[in-house]
Amino acid sequence: MPSATHSAIEAVWRIESAKIVAGLARMTRDVGLAEELAQEALVAALEKWPESGVPDNPGAWLMAAAKNRALDHFRHSKLIAAKHEEIGRESEEGFTPNFDANLEDDIGDDLLRLIFTACHPVLSTEARAALTLRLLCGLTTDEIARAFLVPEPTVAQRIVRAKRTLAEARVLFEVPRGEELGARLASVLEVIYLVFNEGYSATAGEDWTRPALCEDALRLSRILAELAPQEPEVLGLVALMEIQASRLHARTGPSGEPILLMDQDRSRWDHLLVRRGLSALERAEKLGGALGPYALQAAIAACHARARTLAETDWKRIVALYDALAQLMPSPVVELNRAVAVAMAYGPEEGLALVDAIASEPALRGYHLLPSVRGDFLEKLGRLDEARGEFERAASLTRNTREIRLLLERAAGLHPGLRVVK
């Protein structure tokens, strides 16, 4: 097969797959089946296009191919049903596949339904993430496996089980309304941010960041913001991720080592993404969403983004924003971040007192950033022996090899009586 056509098909698939799966899911009311049918259409394209060339409207071609397979499928299952004299069952459940609807008409609604279905709370977080990457970002099982550093069969099984769970729980292919909407939207945003974070600071493995995953998450969040333009938290998440992504290149040194926010070369921040992030945040705030959890986190990220130098950072405002965030979603991790801001605004003693107050939190047990932050405060206070111990402890708690190296280097750089002046 000529590889040029193959790459062209891949590109078309990247653009069209979610829409095709979404359209088919509305038709069949079965997300699992819809994805299988879409895959069959892809296989057909892989067989035909290398000879016939890529059609003028490849999306319509794929949709038509998938739709034909759906018709075949239902004819076939109707035959089986007739044999078993169960033909009444389907109408009892009030469902007959809808083949006549113009799929292009409501493709936006279908996409939104697909997002809500793939991120349904009935599924585990891992299952939601895998299914979302598969159905909405068009990633292969192998790509998802590499993204999460798990074996391919594990991901394949996760997806099969997720589809089964959705079918068994009779999850409707619809956009939730009323009171349910808030919780369901939170579940969607959680999955997108999880995918982003897995790319932004990989929890395990050799690479500190995997930018491709960040781009997938950003793309999906931008799509969602177009589909649900009145939801401030969607814009808040977009803003947060745009601003965080603006630092992607500055977060890694020449040999792949992590560079923390305060040490980053700000000229390497991506100002196009910063601008996009700030404008999304502004829209979220105009919609009255300034105090949403993602909008607040975006506002904190925006404080850093606006400061051209570390010294210009408005740490007092950041402390205030963390205060609001801690009220909204009290968590030891938020407290830890707040302690860092407090230390910057009011001195390391203040920060250390806050960290010590939360040090025994069970949720922070084994969390490498706790000793890492504590070590930083102790170093600034000149308590170098204690600081070294904390950095070493932090190194023993993370699985990311780049981060381990960074922490051990920091520990090794501290000698009693020798104050490192930066």
Binding site: E10, R219, R222, I223, H249, L272, R308, E312
Partner: protein, 145 residues
């Protein structure tokens, strides 16, 4: 990865000042822009006034020399650009193919250089640092104002 889709409309090199595209073409293009936006790939876009309203600064002999537009020697000029973020060069091409371009229009696709494309030789840390210092000074000035 990021790509610029550069729109090159033949004839724009000699277009009169204030020339605007016809409303039908604008409507089709707006729809296309919307599709890019809805797909989450559009980062930025702009349309450019004709070169007859612009100027060129050349540096022959190491000295800047200004020439007002239109530029007699120009065979191809830009009419506008899109900046998109996509998975591959093929995806950028696929998006360009969907543009409702007219007979006289050509889209050139070019990958945007990332900071990481610049190794230490091209942009040594010293240069980077001085770029940062300029930014800092500007920031301080604008703050004082």
């Amino acid at each position: 990865m990021r790509f610029m889709m550069l729109m090159i409309p033949k004839g724009y090199e000699s277009a009169k000042p204030g020339t605007m595209p016809d409303p039908e073409a604008v409507a089709a293009m707006m729809k296309y822009n919307e599709d890019l936006q809805k797909a989450g790939v559009l980062l930025a876009l702009d349309g450019l006034h004709p070169p007859s309203m612009g100027a060129r600064v050349s540096f022959a002999g190491g000295k800047p020399k200004v020439t007002d537009g239109p530029f007699a020697e120009a065979k191809e000029v830009l009419g506008g650009y899109w900046m998109i973020q996509v998975k591959s060069r093929e995806e950028a091409i696929e998006w360009a193919k969907r543009c409702p371009g007219s007979e006289n229009e050509v889209i050139e696709i070019r990958q945007v250089q990332e900071m990481s494309d610049f190794d230490e030789k091209i942009l040594p840390p010293k240069v980077r640092a001085s770029a940062q210092a300029i930014g800092d000074r500007l920031a301080r000035k604008s703050k004082k104002r």
